[in-house]
């Protein structure tokens, strides 16, 4: 399949191609001033060409690195192709990184241009400008508040486009030269650099070639039958490989339309308006949506509540069977399911913006089996995939009809998988990255000469050839009594409760497992309101005895669950506490993709961890917090610690009695 690119081996070439074959079909939408504005492929090509020529006019040359910082706005997506058409390399950067984090990436990548969304990002870059001697030009999309900035190197994207259009008018041959430049591009060229958020250490710049991305995108489109009639909503960070593939790579290769929301706060509403046919979300988004529905239903009239519950029970019983095409569903159940679709599932899907959803994917972390089942039972084709930046996303994905909550599917097209003796998953595919930028040691460490890449995840292939991931290979530890301690496995079980937002399990090299929990404010606050529990702050609510009772109940469930599984029965939770503050990426406790940073948490909450193991009933703790603008403050609290009930492992029960 490597040669199946028909000469259309770079994104700018694909753009030019699409503008002729799909001409007036929609390429991009953006809700602006309350109305969905649409650009056809031909119009988008014109916009991008003007932008590109404007960038050329202010000195962008082949090989130059260009940082792209901001949320999902058309101009920022255009900047990718506009830069690539000139032979430049776009480097999307997480928009919510604080200035210090950003400096590292911009310095490391030797960024010469930066294209940013708004005043906030301009200010951020100006504040560290002295540390970026290579940075020559800065362009922005949204003018608000930037009226009196008179830095000569600061440009508005709109005026750059005007410059480009003017230049083209004066010298029409520029258009031809621009196309020639595009045709010089090769599939093997560096297409984009994506910095991994890095659970440990400094971020690494993953270099992906056009071949990597174009072939992976084409394979993915084929796997799920995407074509120019599909539509997605772009709402995930630009700097994340998933968004780059879904909203850029796959759109250009399939010709489907990408819709940009009005603002990050309106995504849910905008999704309802667009009803995308392809939807990707990490598990937490699906969890959030479900929590939202549950909370709303609790406020609904008793009749509605009854109807909702009745038909959800029906869906729970037969929905997945119907979706999978299993023939063992009675006529009555089919009829009830149809009725349910009319009264409950249909309106619900409409509210979720999933009415037209052909394929939905979740990845990044394990999804709760209950949550996964809930969506599937409504008739939504939600599937799981397993991927990495280094693989241009796709490693494994679930084919239609072969779905289960605890596997991540079979190897994607053109991908080979191998499991090492230690249980680590390796893969090899056309999507495998070129290397880490200026970090050969790390490249050699991750990618073998034969092209095999280490995932860092422990897993195994089950009898059906589906991959099952247990945990990060390096995270699986051992308790002092020799029992296996898989922290993420335990944390995920806890996080499947809607009231628990985040959990951190501790136990490697210790006598027993202990956990620190974060409540999820929305459902817990709603619960508090219904139960007349007064509180003034997150901290007070988290520390409320009733909340502790609720958490104790959840922990108890998890322990019963663990006790029933022989391999992890010894890792039951003995003690737990509820943290007084939310774990936050700004404080470095989570990565930008919301994964727990263990080492930092262990260090920061050391007094609490000590208290978990020395039998104390409470402990005073003071924590530093960092605001988004870089300033620091302190939060202090006395945190209670409680014991949890543990159960004898079920297989050993008889011996114990």
């Amino acid at each position: 399949m490597v040669n199946a690119t028909n000469g259309l081996d770079t994104f700018p070439k694909l753009l030019v191609h699409n503008a002729s074959v799909f001409a007036q079909r929609p390429a991009m939408r953006h809700k602006d001033f309350g109305i969905w504005q649409t650009w056809s492929w031909a119009e988008m090509l014109e916009e991008i060409r003007a932008f590109s020529l404007g960038l050329q006019a202010i000195g962008l040359k082949k090989g130059d690195k260009v940082a792209v910082v901001g949320s999902n706005r058309p101009a920022l997506y255009w900047s990718f192709a506009a830069v690539q058409a000139l032979g430049g390399v776009p480097i999307p950067v997480y928009a919510d990184s604080v200035a210090d984090e950003m400096v590292y990436v911009l310095q490391h990548a030797e960024v010469k241009f930066a294209i940013v969304q708004d005043q906030e990002q301009v200010d951020k870059i100006l504040s560290v400008k002295e540390q970026l001697p290579e940075l020559e030009q800065l362009a922005y999309d949204w003018q608000r508040g930037l009226g009196d900035y008179d830095e000569p190197f600061l440009h508005h994207i709109g005026s750059l486009q005007d410059v480009g259009r003017q230049a083209l008018k004066v010298d029409p041959s520029l258009g031809q030269k621009w196309l020639e430049g595009i045709n010089e591009g090769k599939g093997a060229d560096l297409s984009v650099m994506l910095y991994t958020s890095g659970t440990t250490g400094k971020p690494k710049g993953v270099m992906l070639s056009y071949d990597n991305l174009v072939i992976s995108s084409r394979n993915a489109n084929k796997f799920d039958n995407f074509d120019e009639n599909d539509e997605i909503i772009a709402y995930l960070p630009l700097a994340w490989v998933g968004d780059h593939i879904f909203s850029y790579g796959q759109s250009l290769t399939a010709g489907y339309c990408v819709c940009c929301p009005e603002s990050p706060e309106t995504v849910t509403e905008n999704r309802r308006e667009i009803a995308p046919t392809y939807f990707f979300a990490p598990p937490r988004v699906f969890e959030g949506l479900l929590t939202d529905i549950t909370v709303r239903m609790e406020d609904a009239s008793p009749f509605k509540q009854k109807m909702f519950k009745y038909f959800l029970d029906v869906a729970n019983r037969v929905g997945e069977k119907i979706l999978n095409g299993d023939g063992e569903v009675s006529f009555k159940d089919r009829l009830l399911y149809k009725l349910g679709d009319l009264f409950v599932y249909g309106p619900l899907k409409n509210r979720l913006g999933m009415t037209r959803m052909k394929v939905g994917y979740t990845a990044g972390e394990a999804i709760g089996p209950e949550i996964f089942k809930f969506y599937r039972s409504l008739g939504l084709n939600l599937k799981q995939l397993y991927g990495q930046t280094e693989a241009s996303v796709y490693i494994t994905a679930q084919p239609d009809g072969q779905i289960s909550a605890d596997t991540v599917g079979t190897p994607s097209p053109d991908v080979e998988i191998e499991i090492t003796d230690t249980g680590e998953v390796l893969y090899r595919s056309p999507g495998v990255f070129m290397g880490y930028y200026k970090n050969d040691a790390a490249t050699a460490d991750t990618k073998s000469k034969e092209g095999w890449v280490k995932t860092g995840d422990a897993g195994f292939l089950d009898t059906n050839g589906h991959l099952r991931i247990i945990d990060r290979a390096k995270d699986v530890g051992q308790l002092n009594n020799g029992c296996m301690f898989p922290p993420k496995y335990i944390e995920n079980k806890l996080k499947f409760f809607p009231n628990i937002k985040e959990a951190v399990a501790i136990g490697d090299g210790r006598d027993f497992t202990a956990v620190m929990l974060n409540i999820d404010l929305q459902p817990v606050a709603n619960w508090a309101e219904r139960n007349n529990i007064a509180y003034a702050s997150y901290q007070e609510l988290a520390n409320h005895p009733k909340v502790y009772e609720m958490m104790a109940d959840h922990v108890d469930h998890v322990n019963q669950d663990l006790a029933s599984e022989e391999r992890v029965a010894g890792a039951q939770i003995h003690r737990f506490l509820v943290l007084h503050k939310e774990l936050d990426a700004d404080d470095g406790e989570l990565t930008r993709t919301m994964k727990v940073r263990r080492s930092l948490i262990n260090e920061r909450y050391d007094p609490l961890i000590e208290a978990l193991y020395d039998g104390s009933a409470e402990r005073f703790v003071e924590t530093e917090v960092v605001f988004e603008d870089g300033r620091k403050g302190n939060i202090s609290a006395t945190v209670k610690i409680e014991d949890a009930k543990t159960y004898a492992p079920q297989s050993m029960k008889e011996a114990a009695e």
Binding site: F33, G34, E43, W142, G147, G158
Partner: protein, 277 residues
């Protein structure tokens, strides 16, 4: 399909070109005295507001700040003194006349239509600008609808500017206080005012909300060129935002000048901290 307007192309600045250059006097208050029966709320106060500036009015509680705004706004009529707006000396003026002449305001206690959506609230700020008569407005089609579309566009620009798209359809009564204040600012902006009076725009807000609001005030001032007079208690905010500050105490003017000077004035310090009488 040329509907792809850039937000930057937005122009909400005053439609009137009144011939007053930036930096020249827009409004002046001359020897104004306001009494309620035996109580003198404002005593012989004079100051001016120049076009394009942010003018702060500060002072301890009961100093007469809000009364001053109410006088400018035409809600109170001073017993003595005159008010000159755009070079014209004003006689007794009703608040709606003030609004029509280009003065908009927000209130210390949010005064929105709580049952109506954000969109409708801001739209209500446009009502003075709507010219079509009652009869045409009775019909859905025709000139009234075209006019409404024009105004809706302006309102959407304001919504975009104030970043409140996500609450466009929500009834404002359910919104948090900080957002209600922003909606109120939106409604005032819908008037496309020459002079915007803000009565404690940041009262009761937390730090983050204050920073947001400060940014919006600066942006309104810079981007639309709107002249702003604001009352504020948070001295940090005043020092950051205001070009010039006038200080009132017990209805009298005790200082007037740039923030640094006012801050250093002994009289101002005394007024805020109190002196033994």
């Amino acid at each position: 399909m040329n509907a792809h307007t850039n937000p930057s192309g937005m122009n909400l600045s005053s439609s009137r070109d009144d011939g007053i250059a930036v930096g020249d006097e827009l409004l002046s208050v001359d020897n104004v005295t306001l009494r309620f029966g035996g109580v003198t709320a404002i005593e012989d106060i004079s100051f001016d507001i120049r076009k394009g500036e942010v003018r702060a009015i500060i002072g301890p509680n009961g100093a007469g700040k809000t009364s001053m705004l109410n006088v400018i706004n035409g809600f109170y009529h001073p017993q003595e003194g005159t008010i000159r707006f755009r070079g014209e000396t004003r006689t007794k003026m009703k608040p709606y006349e003030a609004a029509a002449s280009g003065i908009a305001r927000t209130f210390q206690n949010v005064a929105l239509f709580t049952g109506m959506s954000t969109l409708d609230n801001i739209m209500s700020g446009r009502s003075l600008k709507m010219n079509k008569n009652f009869i045409t407005q009775m019909f859905y089609y025709g000139p009234a609808r075209d006019e409404e579309i024009q105004h809706r566009r302006r309102v959407e620009e304001i919504i975009d500017f104030l970043e409140i798209a996500h609450i466009r359809r929500q009834p404002v009564g359910k919104l948090p206080y900080g957002l209600q204040k922003r909606v109120e600012l939106g409604r005032a902006l819908a008037l496309e005012p020459d002079l915007l009076l803000l009565d404690e725009p940041m009262a009761g807000m937390n730090l983050e909300e204050k920073e947001d609001m400060s940014r919006f005030i600066i942006d309104v001032n810079q981007q639309f060129g709107t002249t702003i007079a604001l009352i504020e208690h948070d001295m940090g905010v005043v020092m950051d935002l205001a070009d010039r500050v006038v200080v009132l105490d017990y209805g009298k003017k005790i200082a007037d000048g740039i923030p640094e000077d006012v801050q250093a004035s002994q009289e101002v310090i005394d007024a805020y901290l109190g002196v033994p009488h």
